[in-house]
Symmetry: C2
Subunit: 531 residues, 2 copies
């Protein structure tokens, strides 16, 4: 990097700005896009506009946006479209939170479908007589001629069922900077939807998402190895978007791009200068069991001695691409690349957070301890097994209960004690040898259960788990006190998990997870599940 680049980088914030979203090593659909919806774009286009504008200029921009939006949709194709689209997107970027909200709603409501026309076409279509029998079996001329009216009307119907805003999306996709704009637009849409369920906007979102999915074909994405030689403006984005394990300073960033480390990003040709998603890799002798050893392991081992490529962070940069799984393709391509470059590496694994574990456990503990505290008399009126829809179950084993009860003297149940400890604000339990000893086994055991058995619509409940399992990974090993950061303790009581990618098993695992929901786990993890 040249001097100027470095100087620019030095001025960079070393914490992700609020509103920057990371996939948390997770399926993008679980990203918290609802927060700070309008500041996630860190491009120059927006930053200059966000300072409060005089209201007259803002009003002018609102008019400009609505006018150019109408033109961009209704104007017949011509050279002028590019100018209109530039006006529209620049104007939109300049709008306040509320005015963007309004513009998006107008788009969803006033530019959807011509329902009268659809009805007319349908009447017409239903009036057509279906050719008898199986068309494909007919002689070609006979079948063909009777169907040609069908094809024509079906095409018109397809056209009529395309919302008018679909025209805007397609034109933006062709326009320089338009794809990025569509990402920003969708982030705004998702932000509104997270607060209010508006069906017209829901319909627009699902339409836009489908479009983005085909436009962001993985065959179009370029795999780029991010190095210290990349431009400062590019590296600045890496710092800003990395939110799994925030980059604390320049030395930290340099280390993550240096010897024994790799960083790869997916770039789309229409969105130059920033990756859509990137992954950080550590080359190690063995699968790491704590994130501390990955981030602070100093000095790194020689690359020729490495046998394991550990994916320790994957961050998506575009909240507007929520629900579009680019990480899957990225991991596959990175594995192929590393395998080719370094044949001595035979293990591909992650060291992943378990973002939903503690939330799940705390709610379980709360509901079960309520059941336990019910007096025997009240229990009589209830079925032996259930209270409301909650089953009574023994979350803790007798020996675990005993050990936990020994930690407190207030006479409550073991589950109560556990609940109190885990929700104490200063993480007292994580500092005390006694408490750690009493809590370790039940926390690890229940974590194994959470990862391997808790599901939602047939898929793993944990979003990161679901992400890696659908990519064909196996649950490899649970690691105690693997992330002692506040975030780590809050999410998963400090536990982290290794997902293992075995190239010869990826297809089979993904297939069986997809069709039957089967979760493949190592014998070590399965042991926790035995009674």
């Amino acid at each position: 990097m040249n001097r100027k680049g470095l100087a620019i980088l030095m001025r960079t914030r070393m914490k992700p700005p609020t509103g920057t979203i990371a996939a948390n090593d997770a399926n993008l659909s679980h990203m918290k896009v609802e927060k700070q919806p309008f500041q996630q774009v860190i491009s120059d286009e927006t930053s200059s506009f966000h300072d409060s504008q005089p209201s007259t200029s803002q009003e002018r921009n609102v008019k400009l946006v609505h006018e150019s939006m109408r033109e961009a949709i209704t104007m017949n194709k011509s050279e002028v479209i590019d100018t209109i689209l530039s006006d529209f997107s620049r104007g939109y970027y300049s709008l306040s939170h509320e005015n963007r909200h309004q513009a998006v709603l107008v788009l969803a409501r006033e530019y959807d479908l011509d329902r009268k026309k659809i009805r007319e076409l349908m009447q017409q279509y239903l009036g057509l007589e279906l050719p008898p029998g199986d068309v494909s079996q007919m002689s070609s001329t006979e079948g063909e001629s009777s169907l040609s009216t069908f094809y024509r009307t079906e095409r018109s119907l397809r056209q009529a069922l395309k919302p008018m805003y679909g025209v805007l999306f397609e034109r933006l996709n062709k326009h320089p900077g338009g794809l990025k704009f569509l990402c920003v637009l969708r982030a705004d849409v998702l932000s509104i939807l997270s607060k209010e369920n508006i069906s017209s906007l829901r319909a627009l979102d699902s339409y836009l998402k489908e479009n983005l999915m085909t436009w962001l074909s993985p065959a179009t994405l370029e795999l780029h190895q991010i190095t210290w030689d990349d431009s400062a403006s590019f590296l600045e984005k890496i710092v800003a978007y990395e939110a799994v394990h925030p980059i604390s300073n320049l030395v930290d960033l340099k280390r993550r791009l240096g010897v024994g480390r790799r960083c790869f990003g997916y770039l789309h040709p229409a969105i130059p200068g920033e990756p859509l998603i990137f992954i950080e890799v550590a080359l190690l002798k063995n699968i790491a069991q704590t994130i501390q050893e990955v981030l602070w392991d100093n000095p790194p081992i020689r690359e020729s001695e490495a046998t394991c490529a550990l994916f320790y962070s994957i961050s998506a940069t575009q909240p507007g691409l929520a629900g579009i799984n680019l990480g899957k393709f990225l991991i596959k391509r990175v594995i192929e690349l590393v395998k080719k470059d370094m044949p001595h590496i035979s293990t591909f694994a992650t060291l992943s957070p378990i973002p939903g574990y503690l939330q799940w456990l705390l709610s379980k503990l709360a509901s079960q301890s309520k059941l336990v505290n019910l007096k025997a008399a009240e229990m009589v009126h209830l079925s032996n097994e259930t209270v409301g829809s909650t089953f009574r179950e023994d979350l803790l084993r007798p020996e675990e209960e005993k050990a936990i009860l020994s930690l407190a003297v207030d006479g409550k149940s073991a589950m109560d004690v556990m609940l109190n400890l885990l929700t104490s604000s200063n993480f007292e339990w994580a500092q005390s040898v006694n408490m750690l000893e009493a809590l370790q086994f039940p926390l690890m055991r229940l974590c194994a259960r959470y990862l391997c058995q808790e599901k939602k619509r047939g898929k793993a409940l944990d979003s990161v788990g679901n992400f890696h399992l659908q990519n064909g990974a196996t649950i490899g090993q649970l690691n105690w006190m693997a992330d002692r950061s506040e975030k780590g303790l809050n999410q998963s009581a400090g536990i982290m998990v290794n997902y293992i990618y075995r190239l010869d098993m990826i297809e089979e695992n993904a297939q069986s997870y997809f069709s039957t929901g089967h979760i493949e786990a190592s014998p070590e993890v399965c042991q926790y599940l035995e009674d």
Copy 2:
């Protein structure tokens, strides 16, 4: 280029292989894709297969293709899809002409729509009651809730109206090599359609074309300057695909990439190693008036002295992209780039063929000379102005008639003489000073009329003309004996035309051509049109 690269290049055919298609500086929709439909792919994938295979292996491949086609469409998404798509595309490449034909027809007929389901959804939709009045005017909750069923059913209808082969196309678009395969597939489809109008296949084609148009967004295409440093395998494609002015040998190729020349191609990230379209540019002191001076001007002038960038050839490489105008975006971007790099260049122009001129003229001459030859007696029964749908008009002016009649003594009309001369096989007229003198003015005058006034559905009849006019160019100048090659004499009696791109006029011209069909021409050309 390294030695190996050069060695490979030396073995290259220096003529485009049959079946390779060039846009002829033209709108791609006019490409002659019907010829040699299955040999247009010059990639390794196909070439190894085309030698006659034993019929058993061919039969096996047919089975494989049909089976994998079914799976690729019906299989639920999973890791296995990639394998199936590879099987399918490799199998398809290996098929004979006839078997590809069959496979494409099966795709169009058996994997289109579930019409029963469509009808059911339509009945359901028509049963819904339209909310009264203008939805956008309603209070949000009221309007929204009454519409949510509409949105849901409309989405299902959109899904149901998507042909099953649409799934295959989308999956191929995501698959490495899939976009290229779709181009080949569409070329095959167009080839079949050029011989037989099959409505199911026509419907498939229009669906595929729409998809390709959004997947090949110009924002995704990379502008690449093609130089002598490109790989031999890449340059080999340039030689093969250039069909406007064929590249005759290595020296010719090197000159077209050397001093005073530029060559730019559009690459798509999913189709690496070959441009989708490329343009050749000569840097000149003035607008060239003959192609000879561009191709054989030796040595080139100093680039710093150039004031004109002349586009002398534009070739599209994918017959399967017919009707998708990539050239327009390419020209615009090349102009921007050249202008930025070389501010001393102020004129951007083409030296273009007029592919349809002679064909139009000959048919005019034939029908008019028939009219003239009718005896006066027969004319009595006909309207004074028309015979059938053909108007009687004076194609030639009296002084032109006189000059032409002086060339022959057979007593026929001047139009007859002209017709005979122009259709004589050995281009006698182009060798004779007398004939050239007599023919020059009427040929130039009628050419101006052809370019400026002859239209089809409101657009210029000439395909190349229509291409440049819709891009916003002006007709600049007609050049006599500008292309003396056999092809040039056959197409346009050797006349070529300069289209001029004036940056400040491009938008206005395109807009007015689009909305009113107005063709902007220089005063020199307009003079020919005055009586």
